[in-house]
C-alpha cells in the first residue's frame, strides 16, 4: 500500500508532492477528514448499496442538513429504522419508497456497512 502511494507521488510534479506533504500534516493535526490516497472501501454488495445511499446521505454517510448521518451509527439503529420505513411503521418522505426496495438481509448488511464507517 505505502509502496503504491510513494510510487504515485513520485510520478507527480514537485508542486504536487508539496501538496501531498501538506495533506499529510493536515491528517497529523487531525483538523480535517481530508482525502487519503490509500483510503479504501470494501468491494461488496453491501458497499455498493451503501455507496448509492451516499447520493443523499453524503460520502461515507456523513449526513447533510436534515438528511441524517449514518456513519458510525449502531447497526441495530439503522436496520431498525429501515425496517420500520419498509413496513410503514415509521412515516418518512422518501424513505418509505426507498426502503421497500431492499430485502431484510440487504438492510442488515448496509446497516453494518455504515456502522463501520
Amino acid at each position: 500500500m505505502s509502496q503504491n502511494r510513494e510510487a504515485a507521488i513520485s510520478r507527480r510534479l514537485p508542486i504536487a508532492s508539496l501538496a501531498a506533504i501538506g495533506l499529510g500534516l493536515m491528517l497529523t493535526a487531525g483538523t480535517s477528514q481530508a482525502a487519503s490516497e490509500t483510503e479504501k472501501m470494501e468491494l461488496s454488495h453491501a458497499a455498493i448499496i451503501g455507496a448509492t445511499c451516499m447520493g443523499c446521505h453524503g460520502f461515507r454517510g456523513m449526513g447533510s442538513g436534515e438528511i441524517p448521518r449514518l456513519a458510525g451509527v449502531a447497526k441495530e439503529v439503522t436496520a431498525g429504522k429501515l425496517l420500520e420505513y419498509k413496513s410503514g411503521a415509521l412515516e418518512g418522505t422518501v424513505m418509505n419508497r426507498i426502503a421497500k426496495g431492499y430485502t431484510d438481509d440487504e438492510i442488515q448488511a448496509v446497516a453494518e456497512f455504515f456502522a463501520n464507517q
Binding site: E37, T52, R97, G101
Partner: protein, 428 residues
C-alpha cells in the same frame, strides 16, 4: 449477463500475461509503471468524477487519470436555481482538487480519439494515454438539425438551451432579467429520452417564481412534443398553488412540438401555429456526447448500449460508458443515476482487475425538483438485476403524495441532497 460474462473471461485471459505489481517506490521511469492497472476516465461530471473516485477507493493501487475539457464542473442540477436567481453559478461549480488529493491524475484537455484495440486515448494536443479499462462519461450532445432555424450559434447567442450548465445558464438568466414585466417566456421542451426528465418543468416553476416576485404580469408557455411529463400531476398541482395560471403547457396532442424557430423575429412554430416570445429557451432533442459518436460507442438510437451492471460497452471491449450517454434504462438520465451507475461500474472494473466476479449491482435514483423555493417534490426508485436485466424493484419507489403535505420538507431535502452528492463526488 452472458455478454458481460464473456467480457470478463476475455479480460481474465488478457490479464494472465501481466505479472503482479512489484515494488515501484521512487521509480521515475514511466515504462516501469506498466504493471499498475490503469484506468482512464473521460469526463469530470457526475458519472466520470464518481467513477474516478470510486475506482481509487475500491483499489488505491490503480493508476487513475481523469480527463475533462474544463478545470471544474458546473452542475446541471441546481442550474435552474441560477436561472431563477436563487443561486450564484459559483455555488454550483466544483473543482477537481479533492480528486487530485486522492491521487487521481487530473488532466485538462479535449479527447479527440479513442483506439479501443490499442487501448489508448488521444488528446487534441497530441498527448496519448494508455489504459487497461476506459470509462467514458461525456454527457449529452444536441440534434440541432431537428428544429429548423436552430443551431449551436443561435443557442449561444439568442435562444439558449442552457441544458449544459455554464455560459448559456448565465445568458438565459440575463435575458430574463432584461425582460419587461408583461413579457412572455417560451420554453421548447425536448422529446424523450433526454437529460433530467423533470428539469424543464422545474425550470418553468423557478422562472415563474422570479416573475411572480419581479414581473407579475408575465407569462410562461411550455411547448412540448410529449403527451405527458415526469411528475406531471405534482408539477401541475404545485404550479397552480404557487403561480395560479401563469404557466401554460401545450403537449404533443395539441401541437406542442416545435418545428422551427426564427431568432430574428423571436418566434417559434409548433403544430402550425406561430408563437412570439420575449425570451425563448429551446431545449433540442439529445444524443450521447460527441466523443461517444466519434469512438463508435453509439447504436442507431444515438446512445451507447452497455452490459448490465458492468457498463462495459457492447460495441468495444474494455470501454465502459456511464451517465446520460449510456442506455441505462430503466434508470433515468439524471445526475443521481450517473453517480449510482459509476459506483457499480467502478466496482466491476476493480473486481475484474482482481479476477473476481463484480459484487451484485444495486442502484438508487432520487430526483428532487423545486416547484418553488419552499415547495419540493420527489421521485425515487431502487433498481436491481433480475434475469440478467436491470429492473426497477417492484413495490418500491414512486413520487411524493399529492396535496403538498411534504412539499416544504422536501424543498429542504433538495438542498441537503445537493450538498451531499456534490460532496460525495467532488468534495472530500
Amino acid at each position: 449477463m452472458s455478454l458481460s460474462r464473456r467480457g470478463f473471461l476475455k479480460l481474465s485471459m488478457a490479464m494472465a500475461g501481466v505479472g503482479a505489481a512489484t515494488g515501484l517506490a521512487g521509480c521515475q521511469d514511466s515504462n516501469s509503471m506498466a504493471d499498475a492497472k490503469r484506468v482512464v476516465v473521460i469526463g469530470g461530471g457526475f458519472g466520470g468524477a464518481t467513477a474516478a473516485k470510486y475506482v481509487k477507493l475500491f483499489d488505491p493501487s490503480v493508476d487513475v487519470t481523469m480527463i475533462d475539457g474544463q478545470s471544474s464542473h458546473t452542475t446541471c442540477p441546481f442550474s435552474n436555481l441560477v436561472i431563477g436567481g436563487l443561486k450564484d453559478i459559483d455555488e454550483i461549480t466544483h473543482d477537481f482538487s479533492a480528486l487530485e488529493k486522492r491521487g487521481i491524475n487530473v488532466v485538462k484537455g479535449w479527447v479527440t480519439g479513442i483506439d479501443a484495440e490499442a487501448r489508448t486515448v488521444t488528446l487534441k494536443d497530441g498527448s496519448r494515454y494508455e489504459y487497461d479499462r476506459l470509462v467514458v462519461s461525456p454527457g449529452i450532445d444536441f440534434n440541432y438539425d431537428a428544429i429548423e432555424g436552430y443551431s449551436e450559434e443561435v443557442a449561444n447567442t439568442k435562444m439558449p438551451h442552457a441544458w449544459q450548465a455554464g455560459e448559456q445558464t448565465l445568458l438565459l438568466r440575463k435575458q430574463l432579467e432584461d425582460m419587461e414585466d408583461g413579457g412572455t417566456f417560451i420554453m421548447a421542451a425536448p422529446p424523450n429520452p433526454f437529460r433530467c426528465p423533470p428539469g424543464p418543468y422545474e425550470r418553468a416553476g423557478l422562472i415563474a417564481n422570479y416573475f411572480k416576485e419581479n414581473k407579475p404580469n408575465s407569462k410562461i408557455l411550455i411547448l412540448d412534443p410529449k403527451t405527458n411529463f415526469s411528475k406531471e400531476p405534482l408539477f401541475r398541482e404545485g404550479w397552480t398553488a404557487n403561480y395560479g395560471n401563469m404557466i401554460e403547457w401545450i403537449g404533443g396532442d395539441f401541437g406542442g412540438g416545435v418545428e422551427s424557430v426564427d431568432p430574428d423575429t423571436m418566434t417559434v412554430v409548433a403544430g402550425g401555429t406561430e408563437y412570439q416570445g420575449d425570451v425563448i429557451n429551446v431545449i433540442p432533442p439529445q444524443k450521447a456526447g460527441w466523443i461517444a459518436h466519434e469512438a463508435g460507442l453509439v447504436d442507431d438510437s444515438g446512445w451507447c448500449p452497455i452490459n448490465t451492471g458492468t457498463y462495459e460497452s457492447t460495441m468495444h471491449a474494455g470501454v465502459h460508458v456511464v451517465g446520460d450517454a449510456c442506455i441505462g434504462s430503466p434508470l433515468p438520465k439524471s445526475g443521481f443515476a450517473a453517480n449510482s451507475q459509476a459506483k457499480n461500474c467502478a466496482a466491476a472494473i476493480v473486481a475484474m482487475f482482481h479476477n473476481e466476479n463484480p459484487p451484485e449491482p444495486s442502484w438508487v435514483n432520487t430526483c428532487y425538483s423545486l416547484v418553488a423555493p419552499d415547495y419540493g417534490i420527489s421521485v425515487a426508485a431502487v433498481y436491481a438485476v433480475e434475469d440478467g436485466k436491470t429492473v426497477s424493484v417492484e413495490g418500491a419507489g414512486g413520487v411524493s403524495p399529492l396535496g403538498g403535505k411534504n412539499a416544504e420538507k422536501e424543498a429542504g431535502y433538495a438542498h441537503d441532497w445537493y450538498a451531499s452528492i456534490t460532496e460525495d463526488i467532488w468534495g472530500s
